[in-house]
């Protein structure tokens, strides 16, 4: 198991280096001239040259890359925004909690829906519950999250007035005049985004869990457990669930990593200042350091969650530890 962990850790580090390299190449080497972009409207050759020196764009590419990595690893610096000069790191520090709040809350919501629905549908195929679940699944898969978000905003937020229609409140208390904060306000502002995120994914996960539980129920070792005289609950919890969660864990890990890179549609629809909204703005203004910062964060979160999935997987399935 320890050997497995070491192997996986090295693999994750390698992936991280590879990701920085690719990101760097795509955003700093291929586009026309970052210095001109950074100069903005005041482009005189002198200013552009000055900026080129400051950004070390006059150095060979491998040195630029090395500096980029050095600043990142040694100082935790992603550089400064071309648009407003703020450090990218502080932008990320403001935006990551917003995106993470949406994602983790949404994931908890959809798992809370999908796990029971999936299991019940699998145990009672063709029952009313199963059929209603399938209708919900079909709806969830067909409805784009933008549409779901807008409909919820209009109906629940605007028409019924039950929830705020936009904005974000931080989890910690906020004593500024007009500011909002605290756990309750935080959840109150995020409930619609969570539901929006949950509708589509709950559908997918319900299907996935249903299929996996049904498959596991027909395994020979489940029949063995029943022949031993195990009760239904024991068969389900001890023999079926762990085996049928393997695939769910894999996909959940991948989803979490990807979502943390920014839930663009949801952040736009609900005017939430997260990574997704920021990367859209940065794209429009070609604010390269910000784009790189967010992309790298997304890469790191994908790598991290893949690593966690590998570890969890090895814990769930002993065959993998030795493989």
């Amino acid at each position: 198991m320890i050997q497995f962990l070491i192997r996986r850790t090295f693999w994750a580090l390698f992936l991280f280096v590879a990701a920085t390299m690719v990101t760097y190449l795509i955003f700093f080497v291929i586009p026309a001239d970052p210095a001109k972009l950074a100069a903005g409207k005041a482009q005189t050759p002198a200013i552009v040259n000055h900026i080129r020196m400051m950004l070390h764009l006059n150095l060979p590419i491998y040195q630029q890359y090395w500096l980029f990595i050095w600043n990142l690893v040694r100082h935790g610096s992603f550089g400064y925004s071309f648009v407003n000069g703020l450090p990218v790191r502080s932008l990320l520090a403001d935006e990551i909690p917003v995106t993470a709040s949406i994602v983790f809350g949404g994931v908890i919501c959809y798992l809370a829906i999908a796990i029971p629905t999936g299991i019940i549908s699998a145990l009672r195929p063709r029952s009313i519950m199963d059929r209603m679940g399938m209708i919900f699944v079909l709806f969830g898969i067909s409805a784009p999250s933008v549409w779901v978000g807008l409909m919820l905003l209009y109906l629940v937020g605007f028409r019924l007035g039950w929830t705020p229609i936009n904005g974000y409140c931080s989890m910690s208390a906020n004593h500024l005049p007009g500011g909002c904060g605290g756990l309750w306000q935080w959840a109150y502002h995020l409930i619609l985004p969570w539901i929006t995120l949950a509708v589509g994914s709950a559908a997918l996960y319900t299907r996935l869990i249903r299929a996996n539980v049904m498959e596991t129920m027909s395994e020979d070792y489940v029949r063995t457990a029943r022949a031993k005289g195990a009760s239904f609950a024991r068969v389900l919890f001890q023999h079926v669930l762990r085996n049928s969660m393997l695939q769910v864990v894999t996909i959940l890990g991948m989803d979490l990593g990807l979502l943390l890179g920014g839930v663009v549609f949801i952040e736009i629809v609900f005017s939430l200042p997260g990574l997704g909204a920021q990367i859209l703005t940065a794209n429009n203004t070609l604010d390269l350091p910000v784009i790189v910062g967010i992309t790298l964060f997304a890469c790191v979160s994908v790598i991290t969650f893949n690593f966690l999935v590998d570890v969890l997987y090895a814990w769930l399935d002993p065959r993998i530890r030795l493989g």
Partner: protein
């Protein structure tokens, strides 16, 4: 009183294509400490018969009628809760494929302990002691260290030993073995059969040996039933079946049995496929594949009737005694001749 008494058992599956008559009117008895061999091809209903006996079929899909009496108590249609007290405690069961019959994510020891803990109110340490004991009993080398291994760390034969250990851990009165040696290589098969024999002598349990291999039956069984198309087509003492089988299907099975003592040029095979249980043939289910079919076979299902002068040998066939005696004599002569020419 027989330990297990099955009467007129019927199992049907409702499918989208129609009703599958998997088991039709099966009756037999099993006495304490005896071994019953159940022989037949895939799809003959032998496994389904015993899954029905164990109550392991889903009543939403399977319709089961008839009677299954275990130790004098009717257990067919018993509630799952009551049935659970019998399953794994008084009737143990092992399955064909030891590769897939053990849970891959739980340690062997855990799975054995579970079997103890389900039925006995004992601490886990006691269950573990019992698990270790039974692993030694089924001759697993270094049982003390292997108890914490996972199924994938065992070979096929060792896994089947673990399965046997798990079925026997509560010292059941009946062990139902569904093709326990089919997935194993020949030397391992022999070891497993010998082990089962040994354990039967020690524990005194009755065994139901479900197999498609008459060789296995000859080795271990006292009585044998031959199944075809969901019905019993012949039943007798095991010796009698090999001396004078009465039914063309059994002749075919015996002809297709490889023997070490006689060298045969080529094994006989039964032509055709097992019957569809969805749309079984009219009359005798074996008639499309039988070399001796005549008009009556296609119209009328033969009754299970006693063989000439015997009370413990039954068969289903319309051929009269004279014909059957003649054909069997010819078959034996042909087998002997083929053996000679090969020698």
């Amino acid at each position: 009183m027989p330990l297990l008494e099955v009467q007129d058992l019927q199992t049907r599956f409702k499918t989208d294509d129609g009703v599958v008559k998997a088991v039709s009117g099966v009756s037999f008895e099993l006495d304490r400490g005896k071994t019953l061999g159940v022989v037949g091809e895939s799809g003959s209903g032998k496994s389904v018969t015993f899954l029905t006996v164990m109550g392991l079929l889903d009543p939403r899909h399977a319709e089961m009628t008839g009677s299954v009496r275990f130790d004098g108590q009717e257990i067919l249609g018993l509630s799952t809760a009551r049935l659970r007290d019998i399953r794994g405690k008084r009737i143990g069961m092992i399955f064909q494929d030891p590769m897939t019959s053990l849970n891959p994510v739980k340690r062997i020891g855990w799975q054995l302990e579970e079997a103890v803990l389900i039925h006995n109110d004992v601490p886990r340490s006691e269950a573990r002691r019992r698990a270790l004991e039974v692993l030694e009993e089924v001759e697993i080398p270094k049982a003390g260290t292997r108890i914490d291994d996972y199924a994938h760390q065992f070979s096929g034969g060792m896994r089947q030993r673990v399965m046997i250990a798990m079925a026997l851990i509560n010292q059941p009165e009946v062990l139902i073995a569904d093709e326990p040696t089919t997935a194993l290589d020949v030397t391992t098969q022999a070891q497993i059969l010998r082990l089962m024999k040994k354990l039967q002598d020690e524990y005194g349990m009755a065994i139901v040996m479900i197999t498609h291999d008459l060789g296995v039956v000859a080795e271990v069984a006292d009585d044998v039933i031959v199944m075809y198309g969901g019905r019993i087509v012949e039943s007798s003492k095991v010796d009698d079946l090999f001396v004078k089988p009465e039914m063309p299907y059994t002749w075919g099975l015996l002809g297709s049995l490889p023997r070490v003592d006689v060298d045969v040029e080529r094994l006989e095979q039964i032509p055709g496929q097992p019957p569809s249980l969805l749309r079984p043939p009219q009359g005798c289910a074996f008639n499309p594949r039988c070399a001796y079919t005549f008009d009556r076979c296609r119209e009328e299902l033969p009754e299970l009737r006693p063989a000439e002068g015997k009370t413990d040998h039954f068969f289903r066939c319309h051929l009269d005694e004279g014909d059957r005696a003649r054909i069997w004599a010819e078959k034996q002569a042909a087998m002997a001749a083929s053996a000679e020419s090969a020698a």
